[in-house]
């Protein structure tokens, strides 16, 4: 957790089930009228006749932390009123229907938070060193690649 002038950037990689309420509480602030949130979950899917049963995540943990900090610096440069940013990402096995990522941003008004959260999710996918492998009901698996 980084604190500067009452603003915090919180990043956590977790092998446990993610708590939405914990992420929301982490960004709560009485100076903020808006909290924007994004939850990414493992979707039930079929790929070439095989059913996806879950995802297996891994990360380059220290570098992920520092790339997250860069994203937050960038967010604060673009949307200076953004108050707190909190991102929790799962590692290890995440079965269909469970959250792999929860991001929340608090801001005095809603527009900047809603724009900032889209930027954080895009940048997370583009620059934070995390990887997932789709695991199928046939026991096969394949590493994914973010399109964006």
């Amino acid at each position: 957790m980084e604190e500067s002038g009452g603003r915090s950037d919180i990043f956590k990689l977790s092998r446990d089930w993610l708590s939405v309420q914990e992420v929301v509480s982490a960004v709560g602030s009485s100076s903020c009228g808006a909290i924007s949130l994004f939850i990414g979950t493992t979707r039930e899917d079929e790929v070439g006749g095989r059913k996806v049963i879950g995802l297996e995540y891994e990360a380059y943990e220290l570098m992920a932390q520092s790339e997250f900090r860069k994203i937050c610096d960038d967010v604060r440069a673009r949307w200076p009123t953004v108050t707190h940013v909190c991102l929790h990402h799962r590692l290890g096995w995440v079965k269909v229907g469970e959250a792999s990522v929860v991001v929340a941003i608090s801001s005095p008004h809603r527009h900047e938070g809603q724009q900032a959260i889209q930027h954080v999710v895009e940048q997370l996918k583009a620059s934070v060193p995390i990887w997932k492998k789709e695991v199928y009901d046939t026991q096969e698996a394949s590493w994914k690649e973010n399109a964006e």
Partner: protein, 87 residues
């Protein structure tokens, strides 16, 4: 000059090398990122499956494979970074 660096593998590169990390004892420095990648390929020819998709990270900073020259010190971390898929 040469340096001893720690090479980290992630995602598909773990499967291709069978390793999560290893020491490279005498890496020439300064070195272009392209030559650094060639050294990795020499030791693990199957990494060529990642050619054109992979980037490296040196001391936790991304370096595209190309002409860019990096200077390495003993103990530096070099990572093989296959296409990202977080989120």
């Amino acid at each position: 000059m040469s340096a001893q660096v720690c090479v980290l593998y992630f995602a598909k590169s773990v499967e291709l090398t069978g390793l999560k990390e290893e020491e490279f004892v005498a890496v020439p420095t300064p070195i272009s990122s392209r030559d650094l990648w060639r050294l990795l390929l020499q030791r693990h020819p199957r990494l060529s499956l990642l050619q054109h998709q992979v980037v490296l990270a040196v001391r936790q900073q991304y370096v595209a494979i190309g002409d860019q020259v990096v200077t390495l010190e003993d103990g530096d971390e070099v990572a093989v970074v296959p296409p990202l898929s977080g989120g």
